[in-house]
């Protein structure tokens, strides 16, 4: 039976619930790889996505790092954007307004250099009805101060999660870095701090050297590795996180196909996000959604929730 011949009734139920928020399907965009959807809305029907997760936003505009900021690597890429963003005021006026009419969930990724920076943004967004969830980026490897410092030590992660939870009105996702020794320890710290969900992985710190010119390829020297090359690492970490906490986990890292997304779901992810592969093909999210549906039909799975964490 082809997709169009199927009736609504026997279509597999793709909806998932994460921290009380209902998503029409588990497929989201990974922060920083989809802007706020404005540009890709010319390629992709945003109404079909589980959620649009927006680019990290801070209390004031950030200029980001010097260029070159990106470099391709085998099966992936390095980036050191440095969280350039227009600041929360423009974001609310322009980006949130743009997302208003779409039938998809909106998760706003928040970044900061100090604890107060994060709290400012979280507080500013607390009355924004269009924001369904917050994702706190305590895991960006590309900015010198703040950001990742909060995400690599269990005690600081616990503290910042607790503080954010006190002011946040939307459910809070803490986004974890893979650049740590123990994922379970960090996952449990965020849960203990009151996080409503976890997302992982952010990029893996890497470096590329131009041997002809004998120099670093990225101006920042190091950058975050993402794309298919990191997928097995991400699956392992999603599995570890999902098995060490009770709160839901959103998995990301190198998802290019429905199979990649299903690996994460079977490993325990309630949601999945597509990042760098949007650059390769802006339709990747849609292909992943359709592929998961086809898989469920083929395996006669009626609800996607029956697949989450079966391993």
């Amino acid at each position: 039976m082809t997709q169009s011949q199927m009736t609504e009734k026997n279509r597999p139920d793709m909806s998932v619930e994460i921290a009380g928020v209902r998503f029409q399907n588990p497929v989201m965009t990974a922060s920083g790889t989809f802007g706020s959807g404005i540009e890709y809305s010319e390629f992709v029907d945003l109404n079909r996505l589980g959620a649009v997760v927006t680019k990290g936003v801070s209390n004031i505009p950030w200029e980001g790092n010097a260029t070159p900021r990106v470099s391709e690597t085998w099966g992936g890429m390095l980036n050191a954007i440095g969280l350039q963003n227009p600041g929360i005021d423009i974001f609310v006026e322009r980006d949130l307004k743009f997302l208003e009419p779409y039938d998809t969930k909106v998760i706003v990724n928040v970044c900061g250099k100090s604890e107060q920076d994060y709290l400012d943004v979280v507080e500013r967004l607390s009355d924004e009805k269009r924001v369904d969830m917050l994702e706190i980026n305590v895991s960006c490897p590309n900015v010198k101060e703040g950001a990742i410092a909060f995400g690599v030590h269990a005690d600081s992660l616990f503290r910042i999660t607790e503080k954010i939870k006190k002011v946040a009105k939307q459910p809070v996702i803490m986004k974890l870095t893979p650049n740590v020794t123990s994922i379970p320890e960090l996952a449990r710290a965020a849960e203990a701090g009151g996080a409503d969900a976890l997302s992982l992985i952010n990029t893996i710190t890497g470096m590329k050297i131009d041997v002809e010119r004998r120099c670093f390829v990225l101006a920042n020297r190091t950058g975050g590795l993402s794309g298919p090359a990191i997928h097995p690492v991400a699956v392992r970490m999603v599995y570890e996180a999902a098995h060490s906490v009770k709160i839901p986990v959103i998995g990301m890292g190198g998802i290019a196909t429905a199979e990649d997304a299903l690996e994460m779901i079977l490993a325990g992810a309630s949601g999945v996000a597509v990042g760098a592969m949007n650059f390769s093909d802006p339709m990747t999210t849609i292909r992943v959604i359709e592929g998961i549906e086809a898989y469920m039909e083929r395996h006669q799975v009626s609800k996607i929730t029956d697949l989450i964490g079966v391993l």
């Binding site: 540009e39 391709e72 980036n79 802006p282």
Partner: protein, 268 residues
């Protein structure tokens, strides 16, 4: 959805100089890109899945309906080496059309100096052709192309001659003026009241200085490493003289607000 990755067909792909290739692509039956502007570019996707990022390549030439694209590219690395092997009849995944391109209305009827350094020349060919046509319709205007090469492997020069007056500069002096494009302009003093340039950064700095000295506008096409090519990743930015409307900082996206900029607006 107005944009997508288009599965085009290669209809020609051949070397036109040492390491320089010309590839012509056609849209699938019944599809087209519509109006294309000279100076816009496409993202050419590699077939080898280990190379995930589209390669930004300028549109060298196009037809009026936007069904045909010609790309002229230099074999600069793994991706472009792969492209060089693509055979006529095979498929190519193309992301685009991307970028702003040149604003013809600001150029028609004027004495336009096109300055192309090396592999920066191809997008100016489409511009020269479009301008020639528009100037003829307007009954005014003149286009001079100053093309800089390393040696006398003067790719595209003959094609430029059909649309513009051509001045050649070569690094080794084997053809035209011995020196770079700026040397050639100083030596031969062509008349111009606006500049359009594409080429390596040192050349663009020279062009910006020349434009300031002569008090004319220069439209320059910039290059930077790109990931998305569509404006979401913020990988491709360049510093700007003023606060950019989109970014809200002194940074602008080359792939979206560019690649063609008013030289006064960008810091090189």
């Amino acid at each position: 959805m107005s944009k997508k990755k288009t599965c085009m067909t290669v209809i020609e792909n051949r070397a036109i100089a040492e390491g320089i290739y010309s590839m012509v692509l056609v849209c699938p039956e019944g599809e087209s890109f519509g109006a294309v502007r000279p100076g816009q570019f496409v993202g050419v996707c590699c077939r080898d899945g280990s190379r995930i990022l589209p390669r930004p390549i300028s549109i060298c030439d196009f037809d009026a309906e936007g069904k045909l694209l010609r790309l002229v590219y230099r074999c600069a690395g793994k991706g472009t080496a792969e492209f060089a092997g693509w055979e006529a009849g095979s498929e190519a995944q193309i992301l685009g059309i991307l970028g702003n391109g040149y604003d013809l209305s600001a150029l028609v009827g004027k004495k336009v100096l096109l300055i192309g350094g090396g592999i920066g020349a191809p997008p100016l060919l489409g511009l020269a052709k479009s301008l020639k046509q528009a100037d003829e319709a307007a009954g005014a205007g003149k286009v001079t192309a100053v093309l800089g090469y390393r040696t006398n492997d003067l790719f595209l020069a003959e094609e430029f001659r059909r649309a513009a007056e051509v001045i050649i500069a070569t690094d080794d002096g084997s053809a035209g003026v011995h020196g770079n494009v700026i040397d050639a302009i100083r030596e031969l003093s062509p008349e111009f009241d606006v500049i359009c340039a594409c080429g390596p950064m040192p050349m663009l700095r020279g062009v910006k200085a020349l434009a300031e000295e002569k008090g004319v506008k220069a439209w320059i096409s910039l290059e930077e490493r790109m990931a998305c090519g569509v404006g979401v990743c913020l990988g491709c930015v360049t510093k700007t003289a003023h606060k950019d409307e989109h970014s809200n900082v002194n940074n602008t996206r080359i792939c979206t607000e560019g690649p063609v900029f008013d030289a006064e607006e960008v810091l090189l």
